[in-house]
C-alpha cells in the first residue's frame, strides 16, 4: 500500500524564523507513516485577511489552493495558519462557486499538526526522551478555533521524562494577534507580561507551544526583559530535535 501523501504547510514564520520546527514536523509526519512534500509556499494570507485587504488574501488563498490541492492531506505546524485554511478560505470564496468548491476541499483535508498525528494517524508512541519540566502555551487558535489542546498533551505525555505543566489563566491571549502586536504594541506587551508572569509562576524553564507567532512574541519580550527562558515549538520536543539553540538564544 502506498504511503499517504502529506503536503507540509510550514507557515511563513517557521519557514523564515524556525526551520528546525519544520524539520521536526516533517520527522513526526514520517514517523506517522506519511510521505512528506513541501510545495512552493509563502504565507497563508492572514495578515491581509485580518488587515482589511481581502483582495490580496483571496489572491494568496488561490495560490495556496493551487499548490496544495492535489495531496491527500495538508498539515501545518500552527493552529493559526491551519485555521486560516480550514475555516476562513471557504469564507473568502462564498461568492465564487468554482473556487468555493476547491477551497472547501482543501479545508476538509487541512489539519493542525498535533490533531492530525493523534486524530487522523493515531500516533501513540514517539520514542523520544526529554528530562525537563516544560510549560505549554495554548495559542488562542489552538483553544478556540482548531481545538488541539488535548491532542498536544496526548503527544507530550508520550515523551519520556517530560513533565508538562499548564500556564495559569491559559485561556487568556498572550497579546500576539499578528499585526495586533505592532498596531497596539503597548496592549500587546501588557498581555505578554501577564503571560510571562504566569509562565514564571510554574517554575519551568522551557516554554513550548503549537504556534510560532506567540512564541516569537514571548521570546522577544523575554529577551528584552533580560529573562532566561528556553522557547521552542512543541514539535521540536516531540521529535527529539532540541540540538539547535532555542529561539533567540546563542549556541552554548
Amino acid at each position: 500500500m502506498s504511503r499517504i501523501r502529506v503536503a507540509l504547510f510550514a507557515t511563513c514564520l517557521v519557514d523564515n524564523f524556525r526551520p528546525q520546527a519544520g524539520f521536526a514536523a516533517a520527522r513526526l509526519l514520517e514517523k506517522a507513516g506519511c510521505e512528506v512534500f513541501v510545495p512552493c509556499q509563502t504565507c497563508c494570507g492572514q495578515p491581509a485577511y485580518n488587515g482589511g485587504n481581502e483582495k490580496t488574501a483571496i489572491a494568496i488563498a488561490r495560490n495556496v489552493i493551487s499548490q496544495f490541492g492535489d495531496y491527500d492531506f495538508v498539515v501545518a505546524p500552527s493552529a493559526s495558519c491551519a485555521g486560516m485554511l480550514r475555516h476562513h478560505y471557504p469564507k473568502l470564496f462564498e461568492k465564487d462557486t468554482k473556487w468555493a468548491e476547491r477551497a472547501q476541499k482543501l479545508a476538509a483535508k487541512t489539519h493542525e499538526l498535533f490533531s492530525f498525528l493523534v486524530n487522523i494517524r493515531g500516533l501513540k508512541t514517539l520514542a523520544t526522551r526529554c528530562d525537563r519540566r516544560a510549560v505549554y502555551h495554548d495559542s488562542c487558535s489552538s483553544l478556540r478555533e482548531v481545538k488541539c489542546a488535548r491532542e498536544a498533551r496526548i503527544l507530550l505525555s508520550a515523551v519520556e521524562g517530560l513533565d508538562v505543566v499548564d500556564i495559569p489563566e491559559a485561556e487568556i491571549c498572550c497579546g500576539f494577534g499578528g499585526l495586533f502586536s505592532v498596531k497596539y504594541p503597548e496592549i500587546s506587551t501588557h498581555l505578554a507580561d501577564d503571560k510571562i508572569a504566569n509562565t514564571n509562576a510554574t517554575g519551568a524553564d522551557l516554554l513550548i507551544g503549537p504556534d510560532l507567532g506567540c512564541l516569537i512574541h514571548l521570546a522577544g519580550r523575554l529577551s528584552r526583559m533580560g529573562k532566561k527562558m528556553e522557547v521552542r515549538h512543541a514539535a521540536e520536543v516531540l521529535a527529539g530535535m532540541m540540538d539547535e539553540p532555542a529561539l533567540g538564544q546563542d549556541r552554548q
Binding site: 526551520p19 487558535s141 483553544l143 478556540r144 496592549i187 529577551s223
Partner: protein, 471 residues
C-alpha cells in the same frame, strides 16, 4: 459629543499607566469571569441554551417589521403610546417634548445604554429638565460627569474612595464628619438621597432589556429595584429602547432572560425582573398614568441582512467585555465610545460611521473569547473583520500599515521574489545583530522593537534547506 474613538491608542496608553484602573480591571477575572463560568457550569446544557438564544434572536430579527407592528398594536390596546425615532436627535427631541408638554421638571432614570447612545441627559438639561440617574453606578458617574465604562457596571472603573469623594462633594447638606468608608455606608447614603428623588420626580425614564410583541410588554432587569421605583411612582413612564429588542412572546423572553443574567453577572436571575404592560388600569393599586415607548432605529435597520446583521442579536449582557483581553487591559473609557469592548467594536462603526471608529474593530487580537462566551453566538470577530475591510477600502488604515501590507502582499504572491527578499532580510538582520541571536531595533519598526527583541532568522529558510536535501 461622546465619540472620541479615534483617540483610542492614546486613551489605551493612558489607561495602561493608571494604577487604580488596573486594580479595578483585575476584578474582571476574579469577579465577572468566575461568576459567569460557575453559572453556566450549573446548567444542564449550556451550549444548547446559547443555541436556543441565538435562534430566538435570529427568528425575531427575521420578522422584525411584523413584530414591531404587533408590539405597537398591543401597547396601544393596553392604553399606552408608541413613538418612533429614526435617529438619536429625533429621539431626544421627542422625549424632551413629551416631558415639556407635561410640565416635567425632574425625571428619574433607570439604567439605559440607549439613553447614553442618544445623549439624552445633556439634551434634557439644556431644555431645563433635571435628569436623575437612579442606578447606583449611573448615579455615581452622573455626579462625576463621566460616561459609563462598562455596559452593565457603569462605575466599574472606580474605587470606593473615589465614590466617597464624589458623595462628599455632591451631598453638601449632609454632616461632613459622617463616616463613608464601607460600601454599605455609601449605598445607604445614595439610597437616602435617591428616595427623595423617586418621590419628587414628575416622570420616569427606563430602558428595556426585551420587548414582548404578543403582550406589548417592556421587560426591565435590575438588581437594585430602582427601575421599579422609576417606573411606578411618577405619573409618566417613558421606555426608551432600540427597535431590535423585540421578541415574539413570553417564552422567548424567558429563554433570553436565563442567558442574560447568567452571562452578565453570573446570577440565575436578578433581584428584580419587571414586566411593564401599559399604564395603571382601573383597579391597580399603583402605576403610571401614562405609558410611552420610544423605539429608536439610529442605524439599526440599515444593518438588517448585511454583513453586520448579527450584531443586532446582542442582548447587552457585557460578557464579551468581561472576557476580552483588550478591554481587560484598558477598560471602557479608552474606547472613547458609548459601547466598548468587542460589542462596541462590532456596533459602533454602524452607529457612528467607520471613519470615527476604525480603531475599535482594529484593536483586537482576534483571540475569540468574546464569541466563546456570547450568549447568542454573535460572530464578533467576523463582524470586526468586515469593518476592517471597510476601513481599508476607505483608506482609513494607517499609512505605514497599509504600505507594509501592500509590499508584503506583492511578495507573498511572487514566491521567487519573496524568497530572495527573505534571504536578504535574514542576512541583513544577522549583520545588524553582530553575532548575537536577537535584534533590538530596526528602522520603521518601533511597533515591535519598542517593546520586544526579535530572534534573528537563520541564513537559510526551511524551504531552501529542504530543497537542498536536508531532512
Amino acid at each position: 459629543m461622546n465619540n472620541n474613538a479615534n483617540g483610542f491608542a492614546q486613551g489605551a496608553r493612558a489607561a495602561l499607566r493608571d494604577a487604580n484602573l488596573q486594580n479595578a480591571l483585575a476584578n474582571l477575572k476574579k469577579g465577572f469571569q468566575v461568576k459567569r463560568a460557575h453559572a453556566f457550569e450549573m446548567l444542564h446544557d449550556p451550549d444548547g441554551l446559547r443555541d436556543a438564544g441565538a435562534a430566538i434572536r435570529a427568528n425575531a430579527l427575521a420578522q422584525l417589521p411584523e413584530l414591531l407592528e404587533l408590539f405597537e398594536r398591543n401597547v396601544k390596546s393596553a392604553g399606552g403610546h408608541v413613538h418612533w425615532a429614526s435617529d438619536a436627535r429625533e429621539a431626544r427631541e421627542l422625549i424632551a417634548a413629551l416631558l415639556k408638554e407635561r410640565g416635567v421638571k425632574t425625571v428619574t432614570k433607570g439604567k439605559s445604554m440607549v439613553a447614553e447612545e442618544i445623549e439624552l441627559n445633556p439634551h434634557l438639561e439644556a431644555e431645563g429638565i433635571t435628569p436623575v440617574e437612579t442606578d447606583l453606578g449611573e448615579y455615581i458617574i452622573q455626579l462625576r460627569n463621566e460616561p459609563p465604562s462598562h455596559i452593565v457596571a457603569p462605575a466599574f472603573h472606580l474605587r470606593k474612595e473615589d465614590v466617597e469623594a464624589s458623595f462628599r462633594e455632591a451631598h453638601v447638606t449632609l454632616e461632613p464628619s459622617r463616616v463613608l468608608k464601607e460600601r454599605a455606608a455609601l449605598v445607604g447614603e445614595a439610597r437616602g438621597i435617591l428616595r427623595r428623588q423617586f418621590l419628587a420626580a414628575d416622570a420616569g425614564i427606563t430602558g428595556a432589556n426585551f420587548l414582548i410583541a404578543e403582550s406589548g410588554t417592556a421587560v426591565i432587569v435590575t438588581n437594585e429595584g430602582n427601575g421599579d421605583l422609576t417606573r411606578l411612582l411618577p405619573p409618566v413612564h417613558i421606555v426608551v429602547t432600540g427597535i431590535e429588542k423585540v421578541v415574539p412572546n413570553l417564552d422567548d423572553a424567558s429563554v433570553l432572560l436565563r442567558l442574560l443574567t447568567r452571562s452578565a453577572t453570573g446570577q440565575d436571575i436578578t433581584s428584580y425582573v419587571t414586566f411593564a404592560s401599559g399604564p395603571r388600569r382601573g383597579n391597580d393599586a399603583d402605576g403610571p398614568k401614562e405609558f410611552h415607548i420610544v423605539l429608536i432605529d439610529n442605524g439599526r435597520s440599515d444593518l438588517l441582512g448585511g454583513p453586520a446583521h448579527d450584531v443586532l442579536k446582542c442582548i447587552r449582557c457585557g460578557a464579551c467585555l468581561n472576557h476580552c483581553p483588550v478591554y481587560g487591559a484598558v477598560g471602557g473609557h479608552a474606547y472613547g465610545a458609548v459601547y466598548s469592548g468587542p460589542i462596541g467594536a462590532a456596533l459602533e462603526p454602524a452607529l457612528n460611521g467607520i471613519s470615527n471608529t476604525h480603531h475599535l474593530p482594529s484593536a483586537s487580537s482576534f483571540c475569540g473569547r468574546c464569541e466563546e462566551v456570547c450568549p447568542v453566538k454573535i460572530p464578533l470577530t467576523g463582524i470586526m473583520r468586515h469593518w476592517r475591510n471597510k476601513a481599508y477600502e476607505d483608506g482609513l488604515t494607517p499609512s505605514g500599515l497599509r504600505w507594509g501590507l501592500k509590499i508584503w502582499g506583492r511578495l507573498a504572491l511572487a514566491p521567487r521574489l519573496y524568497r530572495l527578499t527573505a534571504a536578504v532580510g535574514a542576512r541583513t538582520m544577522a549583520l545588524l545583530a553582530r553575532g548575537g541571536m536577537t535584534l533590538s531595533s530596526l528602522p520603521m519598526a518601533r511597533g515591535w522593537f519598542g517593546y520586544r527583541d526579535l530572534p534573528i532568522p537563520p541564513r537559510k529558510s526551511f524551504q531552501a534547506q529542504w530543497r537542498a536535501g536536508k531532512r
